[in-house]
Symmetry: C2
């Protein structure tokens, strides 16, 4: 696939429909009153395997020809993409090789294992991960499914916003977390095609502002691995394929503080009654920090995932 458009995203939606959930869009009287806006939350924390990543992973896996699929898939990730890819491969009956850094949390290892993923451990740095991934691919013939810089993945992620706009058709804004940019790409392309007047905003932790910097500079800027609490957004640099799409379709990238992320997370647990992970709280943090004049506007927020370790909650000590 060399480009990303609404037709591609719609095709992805048809392809993955049997394997993902139609997640609910929730609203809250209390949060609307608090923000002075009308908020619609797309609950991908309630997606299969607990994150929107199931969409992109299923699209990539079910896009393969039978011959390609026979050799399996491989990725490097310790997070939601790893579990989602293992699940998608299991559904297709093929092998998923997952390269994970030695010392990854036991819960993440178990999560991948629960979907039958084959884990290869490597040194905990990007170079070692990419090298290990390439080695597995060379040895097994498995297709590499990059966590974000893969337009099949981005097309899958873009399916969430099609559902969001079906359930909440009059949005003025869409707020979307940005890590590597796969979700943001798919979201922006689909949303702008469906509703040209909509404003698509990427929201990034200030501690992981590579995409904000890149967007401003007009070229991809790489940063050291960020220390943000939003563990799903600790990417060094947005994808090569994603960046031109972000430049073309996204209206703005804003950044939020760590404090706002934790406050947003707690407020959504309390008022929406949803367990969301820190990365998923980032769009609501942009509302708390009033990054735009949202007064009276209809705002869609993508709650990207719900995989947290409940043995430690940011505002409580274990």
């Amino acid at each position: 696939m060399s480009s990303l458009d609404l037709a591609t995203i719609r095709a992805a939606h048809e392809r993955i429909r049997p394997f993902i959930k139609r997640t609910p869009v929730l609203t809250s009287e209390a949060l609307d009153t608090a923000c002075g806006a009308k908020l619609s939350f797309k609950c991908e924390n309630l997606q299969a395997a607990g994150a929107f990543k199931s969409r992109g992973a299923c699209n990539a896996v079910f896009s393969l020809t039978d011959a390609e699929a026979a050799n399996g898939v491989v990725t490097h990730s310790s997070g939601n993409h790893a579990a989602a890819l293992a699940r998608a491969a299991q559904l297709r009956g093929i092998t998923a090789h997952i390269v994970m850094p030695a010392g990854a949390p036991q819960s993440k290892v178990q999560n991948v294992g629960s979907f039958g993923g084959w884990i290869t451990f490597c040194e905990p740095n990007l170079t070692a991960r990419e090298a290990a991934c390439a080695q597995v691919a060379a040895r097994t013939g498995a297709t590499i499914v990059h966590p974000f810089d893969d337009l099949r993945v981005a097309a899958g992620q873009g399916t969430a916003v099609i559902e969001l706009l079906e359930d909440a058709p009059d949005l003025d804004f869409i707020l979307c977390p940005v890590g590597g940019g796969g979700l943001l790409c798919g979201t922006a392309v689909a949303a702008k095609a469906l509703q040209p007047g909509i404003r698509v905003i990427g929201v990034e932790p200030a501690l992981a502002d590579d995409v904000a910097q890149s967007f401003k500079a007009g070229r991809r800027i790489s940063i050291p691995t960020p220390a943000t609490i939003a563990d799903g957004l600790r990417t060094n640099c947005t994808g090569e394929k994603n960046f031109p799409i972000i430049q073309q379709y996204v209206d703005d990238i804003v950044t939020v503080s760590e404090e706002a992320i934790v406050n947003a997370m707690r407020e959504l647990w309390e008022k929406l009654h949803l367990v969301i992970e820190p990365s998923a709280a980032v769009p609501y943090a942009a509302l708390l920090e009033k990054k735009f004049d949202f007064a009276g506007k209809q705002v869609g927020l993508i709650l990207t995932g719900g995989n947290v370790d409940l043995a430690s909650v940011p505002w409580l000590k274990p």
Copy 2:
């Protein structure tokens, strides 16, 4: 209203539809695998005001004649019913008087206040609460809306299971928490009318087993105020109106340990990605404690509410 039947519950459903949410029914591959059953969770933690109580409160308030409504409503409760009644009254534009024990948690007081409820404080015991409630009613002419022993309330609560059975039509079991029995009554009457073969099970904390005792003895038994973590189920005795309905329609009442309630709560937060309150975890605790042979069965569970104080989580110390 002197009886409770499916027609009454359907009429309640039509009456309250504009004022409540159609909550989602969620499933989880991980939990199904863990339990060896097919589970369907009716997510009333995602209901307006965070609990199924909005259904019964709206039915009671919108059942009043204009003349009755003009004098407002009154109840004694410090929990979800109080907030739900205040919200329902606000929607109808009438006054809700809420009798609460002095020393009730600030969060609950604020919750009622946020819906414009008028709070009267009293001594923290049942006699004082009932006396204060009767006094307010006598002084203002407000209609008393009992938290559970009121068939308009029970009819409203029964609407949740109509939706559950629309979304999950082949259930073998329905597991429902029991406090005063309003939800259980409405659930049992509606479920048995819609699907006579279904088994409706009430689940109660072992520390608050008044309904289990009463069901066994064939007469209403009162117990001292129970100390269970499931704060929504700390009732002394099931309702006078509810008990004969429970006897007629409910298949069994089982009890669960405090440990199972906390484990169930944590597992549902982690795997379903939902914030539920301890009372809502009670049905899943019955699965964890294998109170029936659920193997291969389709089981519906009502997740009754999501109002918790996040400053303390049962498995973490603040």
